[in-house]
Symmetry: C2
Subunit: 340 residues, 2 copies
DNA sequence: TTGAAAGCGCTAACAA
DNA sequence: TTGTTAGCGCTTTCAA
């Protein structure tokens, strides 16, 4: 910086003002140009550590992914969400620190990221329950946005309406004439999204006047394998459903394998509807009917919300719910009456 | 820090020594314990900016993803690679800055990350060609590791042996009796991996004494859609192949749709072998025979290599080649002689 | 063993 | 419109 100042024939302060575009400072256009040119020529970049130390801002946010390594491997959203976040924060000079935090692995923590001022805010992805550390930080006023549904509603968040979307999926099945509809949850019911999607399933059934049958519900675990196992169990029950709502596409793909292995064909013998619309959903046979999740927008909104919080603005909404969309492909069809 | 010192009844220097585990300093175990406890009680975390400024190290590396947004959305490796990198660097206190850099978007750059000392090293993922900025940085001695194959071989890198693996894939087809084998590249031939896999294909053909037929080769573009289009073109040619080696699973999935739409069944009418072994490969019908890429190891090795470079060590090898594996599933079978 | 003090490169309040 | 200067919180050399 000293060098830039010398080369431009001004003081370091002036350089600082120009490079920062500090308002309320009158510096001749000619001087400004000279400084920019000198900086360019010297390939100068402001030292990040010094800048953070002096300003108390790191211009960095942490993206904390709360997933097991296993789930990470089949995570189809990561790219979209990261892309969305980058779209939101890069243009304003913010960077993204990528952190994974296995919910089951003890010890690691994100509060240190904040206490050490390494990041200005936290963007938490993935389901969290009873996260006292998170709650404390939130209480202290640390900028936090959750991509998903938080367990306490004072935390800012962006998500889709899981209940309504799940209901929409089941309504689709209902409209096709199905009355015996099974359900596989995306993950354990400890996860709020799992609970919400189950609620949507029940609401749809309820509205249609169909009794809820616990026997028709199985639990997934975010993986192909869990879908396979859950479906196997469902297929061994006495009352065979004609359709199944599997609230996670990856789990659905696993379940489909079990259905095929049982000699059933889709959609003739069994209609299948998923949730998420992972990239492959349109490229399996038959194409998987599912609920589309706007991953990029999810990331973008969350990023923008966090930025607002960091800048001391009060976001318009506490919780943003993005639109989903029913994508009808080949895995669902009108019920076939086998006894005809 | 001042507070910690006071609480423990020592000077700031002593606190610094203890917290850093500075060698060659004799401090009584009792004092050390007292300091740790005080730090704990005060919930103290060393200020990151100050630490970086004083030490000149940011303990951060940048993961630079050179992908179009479109590709990012269907990227099946991201999770695995990130996971691998995190495994390598987190245990030694390093963090990951996630940066995307669309190869087609001008302007953005990574040299600033280095010049501003924001990161200690660069981990570049994805194919790069004629990247003068990268070459310059490398010349200057900046720690850089590439996950993939660099265009100049002085750059450290970790990848799989694309030529040998592609050859292995085609050999599998050859062993099944196929002689008319088509090929779809993963991406444009400007990408080294695309070229290498094509080379492997040619080598296999060559060894088997089969002439290379340009008509049997089409170009993919990393996406489902490109596979679909490329396959359509191939299917319209006069000489219909009995097998096809598609050197990218996502592209292969797209191609499979074209094959089915043409009324051909897999593997009876057409054997298909992919490359990468994306998570869904085992959950489509029939299961996709492919070459398994060790994504987590790729990330881990690259991370370790970069760490070594940052610490001034000379890595044992300039270029690390990880093992791939042929995974035989249902999409390939012995050739069926239609004219019998 | 522990303490004092000089930077690290920048910002920003103040003075000129 | 530009320059001076006091920190930001830590490391690290040197002295005690």
């Amino acid at each position: 910086m000293q060098q830039v100042a010398e080369r431009a024939g001004v003081s370091r302060t002036t350089v600082s003002f120009v490079l920062n575009n500090t308002p309320n400072v009158n510096i001749s256009a000619e001087t400004r140009a000279r400084i920019w040119q000198a900086a360019q020529e010297l390939n100068y970049a402001r030292d990040f550590a010094a800048l953070s130390l002096a300003t108390g801002r790191s211009h960095t946010i942490a993206f904390v992914l709360r997933q097991h390594a296993d789930e990470l491997l089949v995570d189809a959203f990561l790219g979209g969400v990261l892309n969305g976040i980058a779209n939101a924060i890069n243009p304003v000079g913010y960077h993204l620190l990528f952190c994974t935090l296995d919910p089951n692995a003890p010890g690691s923590s994100y509060s240190e990221l904040i206490r050490s001022q390494r990041v200005d805010g936290l963007l938490i992805s993935g389901p969290v329950i009873n996260e006292t550390e998170l709650h404390e930080l939130h209480e202290e006023g640390v900028p936090i946005v959750m991509q998903g549904t938080p367990d306490i509603d004072t935390i800012y968040s962006v998500d889709v309406d899981n209940v309504a979307s799940a209901k929409q999926a089941v309504d689709h099945l209902l409209e096709l004439g199905h009355t015996c509809i099974a359900h596989i949850t995306p993950g354990p019911l400890g996860y709020i999204a799992s609970r919400d999607r189950l609620t949507g399933y029940r609401q749809a059934l309820d509205t249609a006047g169909i009794d809820y049958d616990e026997e028709l519900v199985a639990e997934g675990n975010f993986t192909y394998a869990s879908g396979y196992t859950a479906m196997k169990r469902l297929l061994n029950k006495s009352n065979l459903p004609t359709a199944v709502f599997i609230a996670n596409d990856v789990v659905a793909l696993g379940a489909i394998r079990a259905i095929r292995e049982a000699g059933l064909s889709i959609p003739t013998d069994m209609s299948v509807i998923g949730f998420d619309d992972v990239p492959t959903a349109g490229y399996v046979y038959p194409g998987l009917t599912t609920i589309h999740l706007p991953t990029v927008s999810l990331g973008k909104c969350a990023g923008e919300m966090l930025l607002a919080l960091i800048n001391g603005q009060e976001p318009a909404q506490q919780r943003i719910l993005l639109e989903t969309q029913l994508v009808i492909r080949g895995s669902t069809s009108e019920i076939t009456y086998l006894d005809l």
